[in-house]
């Protein structure tokens, strides 16, 4: 094949298969990250509230939430995807494809984010919390206006970490029919013995990780 012929060949793959899959991955990643951030935050709120050194310690409630978080986190992501596929089918309508992947991804990412946020909030100086109590702030205000405000940089760092981790999870989702760049790498690249597609996909994933990390670092510095 001539050089320009190769380029045209490559471009066809890129345009036809690889580029759409990048969008698919980005969609899966962003939706599941945003949802898990919100849900994870709510979970972290109650963990912080009821924890042993929390604002309103309640051992029973904390242990219950803690158990849920630990249990979900103990599932390898691909097992989780498969294990809750009946639930996925019930809620999303199908257990295959992009939309179907977002559901288990969110379920898996939520406790991960919850722990990250909980740890960030726990890192706030206890004296600050006392000071806020001393002028009559409510528990909600202490968490939102003091603890969260102080731990934004840590939460940003944790979210960056989590996003990169779940980027690899989206590639796994490809193995169960979700599409995305991992699926392309696996199906069109590896299993089809097409090194061009394989290595292009790998390279794109590499760039994505770099970009996410770069954005995360920039945001962290801005938030300090």
């Amino acid at each position: 094949m001539t050089s320009s012929g190769y380029m045209a060949h490559w471009w066809r793959y890129f345009e036809g298969i690889i580029a759409p899959s990048i969008w698919a991955t980005l969609r899966m990643l962003s939706v599941s990250m945003v949802l898990s951030l919100i849900l994870g935050f709510i979970l972290a709120y109650f963990l912080i509230l009821y924890g042993p050194q929390g604002l309103r310690p309640n051992n029973t409630r904390y242990k219950f939430l803690d158990f849920i978080v630990n249990s979900i986190r103990s599932f390898p992501i691909i097992i989780l995807i498969v294990a809750i596929s009946p639930l996925t089918r019930m809620i999303v309508g199908t257990s295959i494809g992009e939309k179907a992947a977002i559901f288990p991804l969110t379920i898996a990412a939520t406790p991960f984010m919850a722990r990250i946020i909980e740890n960030s909030l726990k890192g706030v100086d206890r004296q600050l919390i006392e000071a806020a109590r001393s002028f009559g702030a409510s528990d909600f205000q202490i968490i939102m206006k003091v603890m969260v405000k102080e731990s934004v940089p840590m939460i940003v760092a944790g979210t960056t970490l989590s996003t990169i981790t779940f980027l690899s999870a989206t590639t796994l989702a490809g193995a169960v029919g979700a599409g995305g760049i991992g699926a392309v790498a696996l199906n069109y690249g590896y299993q089809s013995f097409n090194n061009t597609v394989l290595y292009t996909s790998v390279f794109i994933l590499f760039i994505m990780v770099l970009v996410i990390q770069w954005v995360g670092d920039w945001l962290y510095k801005r938030m300090l």
Binding site: D125, Q127, F135, G136, S138
Partner: protein, 338 residues
């Protein structure tokens, strides 16, 4: 203003307060003194309900603290401001947002907040720093911000938990002056927890000394110092012993800048430890700290002090700030200075 009767408080097996009686009058600057672990901070925190107590009664500004439910307690705390040893400011916010925080929690309007914050920063003396972040500030400036925050709700009472313990003597004095000013011009009752003699002498009008979970001595500061009750002697002794132990490990040094030397002498003075400062090598101006009893006359008639390395006693610098020193004989400027 604040009356305590028979307060008993234990943390598990540790009986911190054992039947404590106390009466703090309106407009007073009342010191709670005692050794570390005597229960003074605990008692202070009982006043605004940050700490509960097991038995007894505590009436603050007409309210029995034990009767307050959660919401009532929050409202009750509007009337009591509090400042801490480590300032407890939010690092990510600027001065304005730090001081405005209580007002925002209590849902005051933006214009009210703005006026109040500016007002308070004038009172504490740092109006120009309004948009800066306290992160870069000195301890004294941070404490001023903290004081401004504590005063936002116009409290009748201000609680100070070792508020000057992390500050150097000069800054401590400035903060104490500010507190005295606040007390006299705004009539706020101030309760001060401290272990420092300088604070008792320099700020408090009345004092109570805690020993073994009870008040061992109390009254106007002048009276207590005049009568010299055993509790006071214990406290001062404890203070001196601690300081002497630290100074014993301090070095004789020739300091190239005399300001540091002055600082040492003032620090020692306000700690109530006697030191002798003598002139030294005329080519290198400087000062020396000598521990009483460690100075002796050597064969050439010079007074010499044992070499020891000085450590700062202020808050977070404990043990970390020292000058390189070396032993040096000192010529006594005035032999009977000892």
């Amino acid at each position: 203003m604040i009356t305590a009767n028979g307060i008993v408080k234990s943390f598990g097996a540790a009986h911190v307060l054992r039947g404590l009686d106390l009466a703090i009058g309106k407009g007073s600057i009342y010191g709670l003194a005692g050794r570390s672990g005597a229960g003074k901070s605990t008692l202070l925190r009982c006043i605004n309900g940050l700490e509960g107590y097991d038995r007894g009664s505590l009436i603050v500004d007409g309210t029995d603290v034990k009767t307050l439910g959660r919401r009532e307690m929050m409202a009750f705390r509007k009337n009591i401001g509090m400042i801490f040893q480590q300032f407890s400011l939010l690092e990510r916010l600027n001065v304005y947002d730090n001081v405005a925080l209580p007002l925002r929690c209590w849902k005051y309007g933006a214009r009210t907040i703005d006026a109040r914050v500016r007002d308070l920063l004038e009172i504490v003396g740092i109006p120009e720093k309004i948009k800066q972040r306290p992160r870069e500030f000195s301890g004294g400036q941070k404490q001023r911000v903290a004081i401004a925050r504590a005063l936002t709700m116009d409290p009748h009472i201000l609680l100070c938990d070792e508020a000057t313990s992390a500050l150097d003597p000069k800054t401590s004095q400035a903060i104490m002056n500010l507190l005295k000013e606040i007390n006299s011009s705004m009539g706020i009752t101030i309760v001060v927890v401290t272990h420092q003699m300088s604070v008792i002498r320099g700020l408090c009008k009345e004092i109570a000394i805690l020993e073994n979970g009870r008040i061992a001595a109390s009254g106007p500061v002048g009276d207590v110092f005049r009568e010299q009750p055993r509790a006071l002697k214990n406290l001062m002794g404890e203070d001196s012993a601690r300081v002497s132990r630290t100074l014993e490990r301090a070095a004789t040094m020739l300091l190239p800048d005399t300001v540091t030397g002055l600082f040492i002498s003032r620090m020692a003075e306000e700690l109530g430890v006697e030191v002798t400062i003598k002139g030294s090598n005329p080519h290198v101006p400087g000062f020396v700290v000598a521990v009483p009893g460690e100075v002796r006359r050597d064969v050439e008639g010079y007074l010499s002090a044992r070499g020891v390395r000085w450590r700062s006693l202020a808050g977070k610098d404990r043990g970390s700030s020292y000058e390189d020193g070396y032993k040096e004989r000192i010529r006594a400027v005035n032999a009977d200075m000892l």
